[in-house]
């Protein structure tokens, strides 16, 4: 898109020096504010709650949760899918938009990637906690054991292990490589010796020579290329956890694309949920401009429409299949005991995003923030509906049951927010939350073009 006609990506009056100054100061200069402390404290309390809930589930067993027969999967799986989805926006922004030369990604890609990592950290925990015997989780990994046994490759859960594993590794490397020049900047701007040393070690002796930059851009681009397919593959694999089962409501070919769209949808929602407060708090409105919000909102709108299409086609297919189980499942979703959840997700993921057609709303941070929150809720509910309503009434009416999350279910969910937030607060304090080097380029380009 053309930077001139639209709002600028960076407010005017910045040169490389001042950009660098502004970003690094957040970490190196500005003192601990009360806001940050309060936020961090709160997040940390939630984290402790998380730890407590985990301790209890490990000592007692998953029976403390609401799971039962027939609903053998509960919050753990819902949360897993939701967090994984969140992660996707980060990679989408940093990898795909990079390859598409979308400059506007620059100022948000850093913390979007951070968001990806932290979301993955949360997501990764749930499948382990979900296991009846977590201490033998490594049986899902292929290694020469004393039993002469291997994982069962036909099971989507095994594919999951690899998908998520790969995703985590690539994301970490991608993020770290991107950080190196900035770490060097931090090293150079830091006053105190220990700080210099830490950033020094992390920046792997970056000197900013032409050779460094050449290699850096090469690597970064390659990694972007590597990460791009992951955005599509990971959630597709996750979706096969459901699609490969025979359960009505799971056994559906539309799941992969529909899950990926949903992932990016919820991811961008989370980006906004984070970006809007941050830009306010560290008054970065000049770097994370209305333009960024506007574009993110557009992506949300697009993905929202894809997700809606998913819902519609699901309904259509169950009617078209003329399969009594499918039809019952759909009706049961809409009018059965879990109908409220279903209509809530329709409201949050289909109705609400329609507001984004209007520029006035897309450019209003407050409104966007609320919409983003609703979408986050909606996407969690969507996974809840997919997992629970499909299971609680499947083939044998005699075995039908009902599921309620127990207080332990809720503690693990809320606790995971704590983990995420704690990591994020720390990230804001110790790393440049906006890519300095890329901002410098941007400012440079801008000044060039304005000549």
């Amino acid at each position: 898109m053309n930077a001139e006609v639209e709002e600028p990506l960076v407010a005017s009056g910045y040169d490389s020096a001042s950009v660098t100054q502004k970003i690094t100061d957040i970490v190196l200069k500005c003192p601990l504010q009360r806001g940050w402390l309060g936020g961090f404290a709160f997040a940390f309390i939630l984290l402790m709650l998380f730890n407590f809930a985990i301790a209890w589930v490990l000592s007692k067993g998953v029976g403390i949760w609401g799971v039962n027969i027939p609903v053998a999967w509960g919050f753990a799986i819902v949360n897993f899918v939701w967090w994984i989805g969140i992660g996707h926006a980060g990679t989408f922004i940093s990898a795909i938009l990079l390859l598409l030369h979308q400059d506007w990604r620059t100022s948000i890609n850093r913390f979007a990637e951070a968001m990806t990592l932290f979301a993955l950290a949360c997501a990764g925990l749930f499948p382990l906690l979900h296991l009846g015997r977590p201490w033998v989780f490594y049986w899902l990994l292929p290694y020469p054991d004393t039993m002469d046994l291997w994982p069962q490759w036909r099971s989507a859960l095994v594919w999951d292990v690899f998908a998520v594993g790969t995703y985590l590794t690539v994301s970490i490397i991608f993020w770290y490589i991107g950080l190196i020049p900035d770490l060097a900047t931090m090293r150079d701007r830091a006053e105190r010796k220990p700080v210099q040393l830490i950033y020094g070690v992390l920046s792997l002796g970056w000197r900013g020579s032409a050779r460094h930059w050449k290699r850096f851009h090469m690597t970064y681009l390659l990694l972007a290329g590597l990460a791009t397919p992951l955005v599509l593959s990971v959630h597709s694999v996750v979706s096969t956890d459901f699609a490969t089962a025979i359960v009505p409501g799971w056994h559906s070919t539309i799941f992969p694309p529909y899950f990926v769209a949903g992932a990016i949808f919820s991811g961008f929602a989370m980006v906004l949920t984070l970006a809007i407060p941050i830009r306010k708090f560290y008054n970065l409105q000049d770097f994370i401009t209305i333009r960024h919000l506007d574009n993110s909102a557009k992506v949300m709108l697009a993905t929202a429409l894809m997700v809606s299409y998913g819902y519609i086609s699901e309904g259509f297919m169950s009617w078209y299949s003329d399969d009594k189980f499918e039809i019952y499942m759909t009706l049961n979703r809409m009018f059965g005991p879990y109908a409220p959840a279903y209509w809530l997700l329709i409201f949050c993921n289909v109705i609400v995003p329609q507001a984004l057609w209007f520029k006035r709303i897309r450019t209003n941070p407050a409104a966007l923030f609320i919409i983003a929150l609703l979408v986050n809720v909606g996407m969690w509910t969507e996974r809840y509906v997919i997992v629970i309503t499909s299971l609680h009434r499947d083939f044998m009416p005699s075995a039908w049951g009902i599921f309620h999350g127990t207080r332990w279910d809720w503690m693990t969910l809320i606790g995971s927010f704590g983990l995420f937030a704690t990591l994020f607060f720390l990230f804001l304090r110790v790393l440049p939350s906006i890519s300095i080097s890329e901002m410098r380029d941007l400012v440079h380009k801008k000044s060039e073009s304005s000549k």
């Binding site: 730890n51 209890w56 007692k60 067993g61 039962n68 015997r133 977590p134 994982p151 009902i402």
Partner: protein, 942 residues
């Protein structure tokens, strides 16, 4: 009404759309969702916090602890370690013997089966027989002689008795009273007789809350083509039920003819569920019906049934329920005589002695102060005697009360002396079956808790020099069978488990029949024995507490069963606690709305509401005996219901009772079957052909295990469920866990309703693992913990399972069970005695692993190994899974489906054979035979 379907679903659904388990929806969290209530110290908390960090992976690789081997010092000859021994014995139900074979491992009884040679069990069993094992190992059975609530000794008791004896010799035993349950044991009767000779003025009283007729008519259901039951649940209740079920199913086979069953009853029973025509009516209407049936005039229905009976004169049978009034019973008897059924399909044995006096006399004498010593042998009158006898206030009036019982129950607590009784599996005795043949009861284990037998107590009263029960019983039979070949006779009797000598037959006495209830509008109370607790005998038995009641599927509770129409008229809903007021007495009970219940009739089951039963039975349910009166033992009219505004959570194992048009149970009429045999089972969508697949078919040469379940003969009694639980070390999980959908039964019995809630068709369907050839569970397990065996078994390997629970999600039959918590450590499974009971050939599952029906692989392996060692083939029927062995109707058949002549293949070849949800192409190895009804065509038209 549900927006999803025009047909009513679960009954709650009639009231409110939503889900059946409404009591769960009312709560924010399911009850007990939080474990925080557990006491737990800071130390423990820290431990766990650390564990949460440390646990990852480390627990996987712990080293095995050193184990000891403890050999015998002198090894008994017949014992081969690792091989079970079987003993023939008997267990009594209401005093009547039912022959059993007890499996023991190194001296520990681990399983009870029916004795095929015994007339009352015919190799089958029911839930009670199976559950006796658990009672044997119940650590809460009384363990010491108690005197005035102080631990005492047997010798001190003997001392006291010796003192009393002197007095009795003087006064001929005046003031000495004996209270027993119905006694059929020849030895006991002999001892009592001798006691009464010794002390002519002593008296013997008999009381049994179920008052089973000792001289009950003996039915030959296999010979009856038309059967009319007037409130009789002959298939599942009473000491002859196993034989009845066996004979009934013989005549139920769809051959040239098939028997026809009319059931007239007020409250749904298993027999009613099997009926071709089930008429619902109040007890007083039932009396009129009986009369019209006799006269053949009156209601059209009665006339038609009467006609049908007369058509089959000599091949028909009218059975009156034991809970019915004398009017009904006499009518039935007269009918059988006029139909010339007597001698053909029914025998009325001559009513025998009535030497035993009833409880009434005991009570009057006690109030008159004529009793100074009351010896209560077994039983629990203080709990189950008619309320108007005020038994509790009566005991203190008696100077010396002695109670012998398995438990220190309500009566034991109230008596001055309590003596722990030895369990029937722990001591020598004998008993007679319902048709008179005697059985020697031989112990299979030393008394676990130093219990005493009834024989020893009676011997003590007789002041005979001490001799063991063995000597007493043996001496009796030596006397009775004084022949040189006695040793042979004795060994044969022990080995066969039955003595053909009917001279030992139990003398008879009749129970107090219900007087004809005064005709009156208003509600009618029906008091019935419980299918789980019987009369309270089993209330400390966790297996039976968690055994789903066949009609309500309710566990861990009893309720006031009421008809849907009446409920809506009185604005009552499930779980609502009401005051039941009956002739000046009242009890609080939760309501349960039951389809097929007669209007304005409220049924309550006795056996609950115990106070001195033990930690398992105490406070479960309400005590129906508080409404039980000596002149209305089985209830009567004049019941009032008062609202209390309270709610009690009732838990069932099945919430949804309608088939949703998915034809799990396929039903047709006998007539249809004769016209087009295959039309019934093939009604539904057909499964894909075997070759309709991209994958190579698994070669199925060699053995292929399969099972066929005949819905036409299954009576839904649930014996299989408990038998499976006993065989496979299946844990009890408790009410709260069942309420959250976590019961562990490997074979469940689904119950469906069809039609008008006032009197619906009722279907039962046992559902074990289907062992699908295309098992959906197998391909989703990430660690291959469930895979297929070469013989087509769907194997579940606990020790490989990591607990993703994906297999359960993907199982369309939902037959898989998960150990959500460490159930083996819960209140029910913890007691050390329980460990002795475990089947050593089945792994006890730990927390976090999936489990399910294995077709009793341990039994398959055992037979396979023996056959392999002898280099022979496995005979058809040689392998019996626990469920198949227990089934009284022979409805479950297991075997090799690749052997064309095996019983199971012949069943699977039947036109009635169909696979459950086979349209999903799971190719289940367990298949069903469609149910047939044989209705009276003329009656259908009405």
């Amino acid at each position: 009404m549900s927006p999803l379907t025009g047909i009513w679903r679960s009954l709650d659904h009639l009231e409110r759309p939503g889900d059946g388990s409404e009591e769960m929806q009312h709560r924010e969290f399911p009850e007990g969702a939080s474990e925080l209530s557990d006491e737990w110290s800071r130390r423990q908390f820290l431990k766990i916090m650390c564990a949460s960090i440390a646990l990852a992976g480390t627990t996987g690789c712990t080293r095995q602890p050193l184990e000891r081997i403890v050999p015998y010092v002198r090894q008994p000859e017949e014992v081969i370690p690792g091989r079970p021994l079987y003993f023939a014995s008997a267990l009594t139900l209401c005093g009547f013997a039912r022959g059993v074979l007890v499996e023991t491992h190194e001296g520990r009884p681990t399983k009870i089966e029916g004795n095929p040679g015994h007339p009352a069990s015919l190799g089958a069993s029911d839930a009670f027989m199976q559950a006796e094992l658990l009672t044997l190992y119940d650590a809460e059975r009384s363990q010491a002689v108690i005197h005035e609530s102080q631990v005492s000794t047997w010798d001190l008791l003997l001392g006291e008795l010796a003192g009393a004896a002197k007095k009795w010799q003087g006064n001929g035993g005046a003031g000495l009273r004996l209270l027993t349950r119905h006694e059929t044991s020849p030895t006991i009767l002999d001892q009592i007789a001798r006691l009464l000779v010794k002390y002519p003025r002593a008296k013997w009283h008999e009381y049994d809350p179920l008052a089973t007729e000792l001289a009950a008519p003996r039915y030959h259901l296999d010979k009856a083509e038309v059967i009319v039951s007037l409130g009789a649940d002959f298939l599942s209740a009473g000491p002859a039920s196993l034989k009845h079920a066996h004979d009934f199913t013989l005549a139920r086979q769809p051959k040239s003819t098939m028997n026809r069953l009319y059931v007239v009853e007020a409250t749904p029973t298993l027999t009613g569920a099997m009926a071709d025509h089930r008429l619902v009516m109040r007890p007083d209407d039932l009396e009129d019906f009986a009369r019209t049936l006799e006269s053949g005039t009156g209601s059209k229905v009665a006339a038609l049934i009467a006609a049908d009976l007369h058509e089959h004169a000599g091949r028909s049978l009218v059975i009156a329920g034991e809970c019915e009034s004398a009017v009904v019973r006499d009518a039935a008897r007269r009918l059988n005589q006029t139909l010339q059924n007597v001698g053909a399909t029914v025998d009325y044995p001559a009513a025998g002695r009535n030497s035993a006096r009833n409880l009434q006399e005991l009570v009057t004498d006690a109030h008159a102060g004529e009793i100074d010593t009351l010896v209560i042998i077994g039983g629990n009158p203080n709990y189950d005697a008619p309320a108007d006898f005020e038994f509790g206030t009566l005991l203190p009036k008696i100077a010396s009360t002695i109670h012998l019982g398995l438990y220190r129950n309500e009566t034991g607590v109230a008596c001055r002396w309590h003596i722990p009784e030895a369990h029937e599996l722990e001591s020598w005795s004998d008993a007679a079956a319902f048709e008179g043949s005697a059985t020697i009861i031989q112990p299979v284990i030393e008394p676990l808790f130093a219990g005493r037998s009834r024989h020893e107590l009676l011997a003590a009263l007789l002041e005979e020099p001490f001799s063991s029960s063995y000597e007493i019983v043996r001496a009796f039979w030596q006397k009775r069978h004084a022949a040189p070949d006695f040793e042979q006779f004795w060994r044969k009797a022990l080995h066969e488990g039955v003595i053909e000598d009917r001279s030992a037959a139990a003398p008879a006495s009749s129970p107090p029949p219900n007087p004809p209830p005064p005709r009156s509008a208003g509600l009618h109370l029906l008091i019935r024995p419980s299918a789980q607790m019987l009369d309270g005998k089993f209330s400390n038995n966790a297996w039976l507490q968690e055994f789903p009641e066949p009609m309500t599927k309710m566990v861990w509770d009893n309720a006031a069963l009421i008809n849907p129409a009446t409920a809506s008229r009185l604005k009552l809903e499930n779980g609502e606690v009401v005051d039941l007021k009956f002739r000046g007495r009242s009890v609080r009970a939760p309501i349960w709305i039951l389809p097929g219940q007669a209007e304005d009739c409220v049924t309550i089951n006795i056996g609950y509401g115990r106070t001195s039963s033990g930690s398992i039975g105490n406070g479960v349910g309400f005590n129906a005996n508080t409404l039980r009166l000596s002149d209305a033992m089985w209830g009567g009219s004049g019941l009032e219901i008062g609202k209390t505004g309270k709610h009690h959570d009732l838990v069932t194992t099945q919430q949804h009772w309608e088939m949703e048009g998915r034809d799990q149970v396929r039903v047709g009429t006998f007539a249809e079957f004769q016209r087009r045999p295959d039309a019934i089972a093939k009604s539904a969508e057909l499964p894909p052909r075997k070759d309709e697949t991209l994958y190579p078919n698994v070669p199925d040469n060699g053995r292929a295990w399969g099972m066929a379940i005949d819905l036409n003969t299954c009576i839904g009694c649930g014996a299989c469920t408990v038998a499976c639980q006993a065989e496979n070390n299946i844990p009890v999980v408790g009410k709260e866990q069942v309420g959250r959908g976590r019961e562990m039964h490997w074979i469940r019995i689904d119950r469906y309703y069809e039609g008008d809630p006032a009197n619906p068709a009722i279907f039962h369907q046992p559902v074990p693992c289907m062992h699908c050839e295309n098992a959906p569970c197998e391909l989703v397990c990430p660690v291959a913990a469930t895979v297929h065996s070469s013989e087509g078994l769907n194997q579940m390997i606990y020790n490989r399972c990591v607990g993703t629970r994906y297999c359960s999600n993907n199982c369309p039959y939902k037959v898989r069970r998960f150990n959500f918590l460490e159930y083996d450590e819960n209140h029910f499974e913890k007691p050390p005695t329980r460990k002795l009971m475990r089947n050593p050939n089945v792994t006890v599952r730990s927390r976090g692993v999936m489990e399910k029906c294995t077709y009793c692989i341990q039994r398959i392996s055992a037979v396979k190994i023996e056959a392999e060692k002898a280099n022979r083939l496995i005979r058809d029927g040689e392998i019996l899974p626990a469920c198949a062995q227990a089934c009284p109707a022979g409805a479950i058949v297991f075997g090799d489906i690749n052997d064309p002549v095996s019983h199971v293949s012949r069943l699977k070849a039947s036109p009635l054979n169909y696979g459950l949800l086979a349209e999903l192409n799971t190719r289940p190895r367990t298949s069903y035979l469609a149910k047939l009804r044989n209705p009276n065509p003329e009656l259908e038209q009405i």
